[in-house]
Symmetry: C2
Subunit: 278 residues, 2 copies
């Protein structure tokens, strides 16, 4: 499990770099970016950041300002692409919310996507192996935005032993009840909606999945997708009837953009560092 | 001197917004971005940021992380576009280093650019008036990157009463001796190189222009343009024989990118705030 560096820049106390590696899960070359705040042999932990619809490995690392908050620590952040690319599958490039840039962090079961659109396994197997083997990291936390917030929640809730802590910005918490989620799950998983529940954070909590640490969620109340797509209150209701603690910060007037993320990213980094550097 | 807001986002303690206004100097509609860390009636000072080749009003405001450093102050930052756009002049869109996105912060005297490519006047007249009249700002400092660092230096050195302090990242300090500068000055000003000296920071210092505050320059030593285009040592030599103090921070291994800018932007913001909030 090695990687190829495509470009790198000195940045704060370390390096921001762009790279690619081979994925068994997607059977493609996958790109990622990362920030290493210290020489690689000193790095001991990582935050995986999962981006939202239309993003690739560049958006977060150039816009969110996370590197400053990680500077002079031993914790890296790694930002994978949001789907396999360049497969030329039917329908792959027709819309912003399905196919390329919209992998939804699940393992597809419906043709023609089932061979490659396995972003769930890509993250929890290939990317975790890369962190273990190429970066010497064994403590990992997970976060993300929107579709990536959904990804962080389901990956964290289903693998509490693998991820030290979970946070999310503006996550799609109940995709089986949201148009984005319904379209994607139908296209990747088919119309048996029972199979959808494994990839729905609210359903996972309802059916007893929990993570031992409180989940930190940041949500702007001026978010244009809040009522139709994100459905934040659904996971809060589910958590109330479960053992899962969720810390929800509702931010008056903030929207769905990177301006929201960059305002509060330092809080989330510090939250994860409190477990990763404990 | 009013402006039209195109979009805005809550951000840190205030708002990042994108807007446009009419310019007498360029006879076009000019776009800009800005960050207002407080309600507009509380803003009392501004930093003008001038971007480099190929940039527009978006690059700095989305990538540099300056807003965090200005949060909870009364100082805004404003980031104009780097040239007029959409004029369809001959040669305007043929290269990345001339015409669109490459105004070089001078007043063109050569046809067909002389009617509109007046970025020097745009900054020191139109943008300053906008700050005075629409934002209620009277104390202004100036900074920029690469071509924009050149702009900050020449505007500041020629207008020491207008700008409280000057800083620059990776500036083109002696454009009349650099290929980028020679191409641009020839195209905008014609081949009488005597007229070029008014837009060359090293020449301005040599001929006695000074600013009462020390100029802060940040320069990466891994900058791929240092030796051919930026020529940092030329302004240092000129300053040594003049009354102009320059504080040059040379940073081992850092390159010409926004990763360099974002690493050190907080230092520059604090430098300007020390004069603007004095």
């Amino acid at each position: 499990m090695s990687f190829k560096t495509l470009k790198e820049h000195l940045h704060f106390s370390g390096r921001t770099l762009f790279a690619e590696h081979e994925s068994s899960a997607t059977k493609t070359t996958m790109k990622f970016s990362c920030f290493l705040p210290a020489p690689i042999e000193q790095i001991d932990s990582a935050i995986i950041w999962l981006s939202g619809l239309t993003c690739n490995e560049e958006n977060f690392i150039t816009k969110a300002g996370a590197q400053r908050a990680l500077s002079n620590t031993k914790t890296m952040i790694i930002c994978p692409d949001t789907s396999p690319r360049g497969l030329n599958l039917e329908g792959e490039d027709e819309s912003y919310d399905f196919g390329t840039g919209a992998g939804f962090y699940l393992n597809a079961t419906k043709a023609p996507y089932d061979s490659n659109y396995n972003m769930y396994d890509y993250i929890q197997k290939d990317l975790v192996s890369l962190l273990n083997e190429s970066f010497g990291v064994d403590k990992i936390s997970i976060s993300g935005h929107s579709m990536g917030g959904h990804g962080a929640l389901i990956l964290g809730l289903r693998n509490p032993e693998l991820f030290q802590s979970i946070s999310a910005f503006s996550p799609i918490v109940n995709p089986i009840k949201a148009p984005w989620g319904q379209k994607a799950f139908n296209g990747y998983l088919g119309d048996d909606s029972n199979s959808w529940k494994n990839y729905d954070a609210t359903e996972l909590i309802t059916s007893g999945n929990t993570h031992p640490r409180p989940i930190l969620i940041e949500q702007g109340l001026g978010d244009e997708f809040l009522e139709k797509e994100l459905l934040t209150q659904n996971i809060m209701s589910a958590a109330k009837d479960s053992d899962q603690e969720i810390m929800l910060n509702e931010r008056e007037g903030f929207d769905h953009s990177y301006y929201f993320i960059s305002t509060f990213i330092e809080d989330h980094i510090k939250y994860h560092l409190s477990y990763l550097q404990a």
